[in-house]
């Protein structure tokens, strides 16, 4: 089975966001970048499918040269091939999806794994968008995945429960936390990844449909108050919630 996995390179969750000089994006100075946490789950699932069914896993990332770091991480975890779709221009989700769809059409995998969401843009859109562009089935926010003859069955998380979904191949799956526990790359894996080549291709040109007018920090909350210490403070807290905040 040919399996593809699309991965993004994003600021570490520890990042304290500062707005950059253009007022439209973050200041990248001093920011540590990592593989998008949901994409790490997607890579793990791709490897598990390969281990069960046999085949090949190809990782794709669209971005500048820095994305090679994240592709190396995927190689170290065990993917067979890595492709960098080179482009430094800012892109909206549509524009990323379109470039990925072009590349995936050529690769022609039976299953493509995405993360549920990039923790930078928080769009949670690119996986399903790519599926629509390719005319493929999709299941998003997946916490359990199984294969039957030419089909997948998946559990997707919804508010207060799960939907049990059946879909035909080729299929796009977007991975949610809970699907698996990603492995740590072994020392051998890390060493091997160093010598594996990363194929570089020009990404299909950007064609954004939405533009960022301004980025800012959310209005700071006024510093709250300590109502008191221990159980003695409870009546006053309840009074404030009832009379001042009016939330109970």
């Amino acid at each position: 089975m040919k399996i593809a996995v699309c991965i993004n390179h994003v600021p570490d969750t520890e990042t304290k966001v500062k707005i950059g000089p253009d007022g439209k994006s973050i200041d990248r100075a001093g920011v540590n970048f990592i593989i998008n946490p949901y994409d790490e789950i997607a890579v793990e699932e791709a490897l598990r499918i390969k281990e069960k069914q046999g085949g090949e896993v190809i990782a794709l990332s669209l971005g500048g040269d820095t994305h090679k770091e994240t592709l190396r991480k995927a190689l170290a975890m065990g993917v067979d091939k890595a492709v960098l779709l080179k482009d430094d221009a800012p892109r909206d989700s549509y524009s990323v999806a379109l470039a990925l769809a072009f590349a995936l059409k050529e690769i022609s995998p039976e299953i493509v794994l995405f993360g549920k969401q990039s923790i930078d843009s928080d769009d949670a859109a690119i996986g399903v968008m790519t599926a629509e562009m390719l005319g493929w089935a999709s299941v998003s926010v997946v916490v359990k995945l199984d294969f039957a003859e030419g089909n997948v069955t998946a559990e997707r998380e919804i508010e207060g429960g799960h939907e049990n979904v059946e879909a035909t191949l080729p299929v796009v799956i977007t991975a949610q936390k809970g699907l698996n526990e990603p492995r740590y790359p072994s020392l051998k894996g890390i060493m091997a990844a160093k010598s594996k080549p990363i194929e570089e291709k020009q990404a299909a040109p950007a064609s954004n449909r939405a533009e960022v007018v301004e980025m800012r920090k959310p209005a700071a909350k006024g510093s709250g108050k300590i109502v008191g210490t221990g159980a003695d403070a409870v009546p006053e807290l309840v009074r404030l919630l009832h009379e001042e905040a009016k939330v109970i």
């Binding site: 999806a97 930078d120 859109a125 996986g127 089935a137 207060g160 429960g161 809970g178 709250g224 210490t229």
Partner: protein, 325 residues
């Protein structure tokens, strides 16, 4: 004139609260541009629930009713929404940023050659255009977005736009038939497993969350009791989810759920940056922690410094007293 198609989500033949939120938000926008809101209800046996959308500002409701639509299907729903939007010549499609809305919107965007703004927390009209505000980096920053295509799609974060109460007006209902083939069901839900009686943190108006300071999974009973008294959902920090004390779907934060309830009570949670990212847009935050220097107090509106095992049961008792339970 701006015509907005408001997708009104239903599950099990009941309109969701977010359906009313979307209609009211759409109505506000057209009120500033002299336009019209048409609502869309999709499902099986759902015609009777449609007129109620009139009470929130939809003059007309289009209903697509088909036995095969008992459960959600990404491909079929996307086809229906896009076809109805085209028939109605709607220039804007609005829906809720729920599990369903987030899944279907990207497909509708591709079909309508439309730009998409996901999970919006504010919308305003500027020079005849809609400017959408949406959080990024799990709420550590927010952006104003302008869509540059003629057709535009906005998904709205649940619980942020207020639905208010119904005016009692009934909308006129029109049934529409969209031809569906097997190709529309290449991905389809076959059944739904609902955790009975459980309120999801993403939908809850009140959340009580517990952290590692509770020391053991069985101690979450004090959290559950407080949540029950408040009719609240139970949330958790990643530390307790990773420890296997609580299920994944309760995790709040940057790699869990982003929540915006009216009231968020954080018990024995330190307030790590990844946790704060997911809950700091709550309207009111209460922190209960024995460490007066815990970072959670910096975002809390009200704090109690103390031992959770003393404070929480006392709080549950006091709230039951207030609510006459």
């Amino acid at each position: 004139m701006m015509k907005i198609l408001a997708f009104a989500e239903q599950r099990d033949g009941q309109l969701k609260k977010n359906a009313f939120e979307v209609v009211v938000a759409a109505k506000k926008i057209v009120g500033q541009t002299d336009g019209e809101v048409v609502a869309l209800v999709v499902g099986s046996g759902v015609e009777s629930i449609a007129p109620a959308l009139g009470g929130y500002g939809a003059m007309r409701v289009v209903v697509v009713d088909d036995a095969r639509l008992k459960y959600y299907s990404t491909t079929a729903y996307a086809n229906i929404i896009a076809e109805v939007a085209k028939k109605e010549s709607a220039s804007v499609v609005m829906l809720a940023a729920t599990a369903m809305g987030k899944d279907v919107a990207p497909r509708v965007a591709v079909k309508l050659e439309a730009g998409l703004a996901v999970d919006c927390i504010a919308l305003k009209v500027e020079g005849g255009d809609i400017l959408a505000t949406r959080p990024v980096y799990a709420g550590k920053a927010q952006t104003d977005i302008k869509i540059t295509t003629p057709v535009k799609i906005f998904s709205l974060r649940p619980n942020v736009f207020t639905a208010g109460t119904t005016s009692g007006a009934q909308a006129s209902v029109e049934k529409a038939t969209i031809p569906l083939t097997d190709a529309d069901f290449v991905s389809a839900v076959k059944s739904v497993t609902q955790a009975t009686g459980k309120i999801d943190v993403a939908e809850a108006d009140v959340i009580v969350s517990g952290g590692r300071g509770l020391k053991a999974p069985e101690n979450f009973n004090i959290i559950e009791e407080l949540a029950a008294a408040l009719g609240a959902a139970v949330g958790a920090s990643r530390a307790v989810v990773d420890a296997g004390w609580r299920p994944h779907d309760e995790q709040v934060g940057q790699t869990g759920k982003t929540v915006s309830p009216s009231l968020y009570i954080a018990v024995a949670i330190s307030g790590a940056i990844q946790h704060l990212a997911g809950m700091s847009s709550s309207k009111y935050i209460v922190a209960i922690n024995k460490d007066k220097d815990a970072p959670i107090f910096q975002v809390a509106d009200y704090g109690i410094v103390g031992d959770a095992f003393e404070v929480v049961p006392a709080l549950t008792k006091e709230i039951k007293k207030l609510l006459g339970k």
